[in-house]
């Protein structure tokens, strides 16, 4: 396959060896002549050995030439790997494209084959080399529509879809891809706003760039299909990175503040609702209490009234005496005869109060509720007990 040197025919066409057509013709003629000669001489394959020196030399020439022809024809075999295409040129002119398998072409110098890989995905990188960190700022920094500068890296993947065009229509097609990629992406970025490129429109940018790139390359009939443009990185330039980060942080701060406000609201409103519920329940309780106790009071009064109306004087007297007994038994008493005109009577009232108060005032202050309700209820209980007793009697 060394005969298929791709350099062949490029520059040395005029001085090189593409002259075998004539040689071949002459050669064939010669061989025919020789065979004719040999046949007339009655020779076979074994002729050269048995006969004289003249046919022997002829025979060896024939053999050598025949061998050369076989070797020459054999050199026309070539193998096209899967995913490759062999482009066959006859005297420099394109004749055929062969697919994978064992193929044969007219050997050098009549036909040549150039094998190209059509399945391999090729890549060009814009704005970086090999690693996204190794930036090429000259390529990476681009102007946007709103005259901002962004730092962008992307990779273009492409395959050959037309091996003939790929070989014949452009000098250095791979470089053309790089150029088309750069111009296309810059055009797309140049038409987009910075925020669009950086945030919401990344996919759109890549898609537009792919489209534009393909359009440019189609114009060159380059035989290349752009399969994918991926944006590796799109960022504000390093010089302003801090400010951008701060803006992102500010966005977070805003969310945080909102959440804090919401948290406050979530704390306050349910609490208020709880307090409101308590107020309402308490009022309901108060209402029930007031009504029920009114009913109770009224019922008690009515019951006593029934008995009272049966014997008003006795009941009245009894109630009065009951009350006086209870009141007087619970109080310090001083009986003073005022009519005797003893106006100068001196009572150490404060001392009296202190003496009596030291024993009974303190419980009154410590537990007023008990103090208030228990005598009351016990009193009432006693009262009702008595009235019941009376009724029985």
């Amino acid at each position: 396959m060394g005969l298929n040197d791709p350099q062949w025919g490029k520059n040395k066409g005029d001085s090189g060896p593409p002259d075998l057509d004539d040689v071949l013709r002459n050669f064939n003629k010669k061989i025919n002549d020789m065979f004719g000669q040999k046949k007339s001489g009655g020779g076979g394959d074994d002729g050269p050995r048995t006969q004289g020196s003249k046919p022997q030399s002829n025979g060896s020439i024939i053999l050598i030439l025949g061998l050369l022809v076989v070797v020459w024809l054999g050199s026309g075999f070539y193998i096209v790997d899967e995913g490759h295409r062999g482009v066959v040129l006859r005297f420099g002119q394109y004749v055929d494209t062969s697919s994978a398998g064992l193929r044969w072409h007219f050997p050098y110098p009549v036909e040549r084959v150039e094998v190209v890989n059509v399945s391999q995905v090729r890549t060009v990188e814009i704005g970086y080399r090999n690693n996204v960190r190794s930036k090429v700022l000259r390529e990476a920094l681009m102007l946007t529509d709103d005259e901002n500068i962004i730092d962008i890296q992307f990779a273009v993947q492409y395959i050959l879809n037309d091996p003939e065009n790929f070989l014949f229509k452009n000098r250095n097609p791979d470089e053309a891809v790089l150029q088309a990629a750069e111009t296309a992406i810059r055009q797309v970025i140049g038409k987009s706003k910075m925020d669009f490129v950086l945030y919401e429109g990344r996919e759109q940018v890549a898609a537009n760039a792919t489209q534009l790139m393909q359009k440019i390359l189609d114009r060159y009939e380059i035989g290349i299909l752009i399969s994918r443009v991926t944006m590796q990185n799109a960022q504000p330039p390093e010089q302003v990175q801090a400010a951008f980060d701060d803006a992102v942080k500010a966005g977070q701060d805003r969310e945080r503040q909102k959440n804090e406000g919401q948290a406050y609201a979530n704390d306050v409103i349910p609490r208020a609702a709880g307090n409101a519920a308590r107020l309402i329940q308490e009022s309901e309780g108060y209402k029930q209490r007031v009504i029920v106790s009114a009913e109770g009071d009224a019922s008690r009064f009515e019951q006593i009234l029934t008995e009272y109306s049966k014997a008003p004087n006795v009941t009245r007297e009894r109630l009065y005496l009951d009350m006086m007994q209870q009141v007087l038994s619970n109080t310090s008493k001083i009986v003073v005869d005022q009519k005797n005109g003893n106006n100068l009577l001196y009572l150490p009232l404060d001392k009296l109060i202190n003496i009596s108060g030291s024993t009974s005032v303190s419980p009154a202050t410590t537990s007023p509720a008990v103090q208030e309700t228990t005598p009351d209820s016990s009193l009432r209980a006693r009262e009702s007990f008595r009235s019941r007793e009376r009724e029985i009697r």
Partner: protein
Amino acid sequence: MKSFTSVFSGIIIAIFFLGSSAIYIVDERQQAILFQLGEVIDVKIDPGLYFKIPIAQNVRFFEKRILTMDTEEPERFITSEKKNVLVDLFVKWRIVDVKQYYISVRGDEGLAQTRLAQTINASIRDEFGNRTVHDVVSGERDVIMEIMRQKADNDARSIGVEVVDVRLKRVDLPQEVSESVYRRMEAERKRVANELRSTGAAESEKIRADADKQREIILAEAYREAQKTMGDGDSQAAAIYAAAFQKDSEFYAFWRSIDAYKQSFKNKGDMMVLEPTSDFFKYLKNPAVSK
């Protein structure tokens, strides 16, 4: 016979050399001009095998493929608002009239590219000089490229060249201007950041205030409900009391007073100063007293 062999091989070699200088192959990628003693006598554009007269005729090959002119370093141009921009571009071109091409630039690619570069340079100055940076970068990029292509193409035809495409690769601001762009971008971000923060604070405050308002309303409404309920209870109770006590209001006053006395004097600390003549003590003085 030996001499025949040597003569034969000599002839073959001679034919070989003669033949090799009598034929030439034009590749798919090439086109050729056939010269006879310096004069152009034929142009071969189609690929294939061709013959020529050895020695008297010679052939030169030229590219048929699309070639690229890519400027190495970006050049400065001034836009209509007197701003400098750095422009980097590439040109795709192709030899279409090889004879003309040979005559005009002696078939020298470098020379042809210089020629193209001059034309394009001039047309960039024209086009950029009439446009703002914004137009050049985004708005009319396509238009500019197409105009430049047409201009370059018109001119290139005279040297047998077709300009397939002229494309602006980079249109950048020079370093000094870039710095100020960065400053502006920074300021802009700061503005955005501040706006975000203050709107955040505002919204937070709104939410809090709204919560406080809701709290007040909820409590007030509850108070209203509570008062209503309590009033309702009070009124019902009053009605019940009135209904009962109306039956004997004089006795009620008596009975209620008794209750009140009991409630008022329940501690030893309470003190009563009594008159011995009071009705209560009537039996104390005289057990025989009767009504």
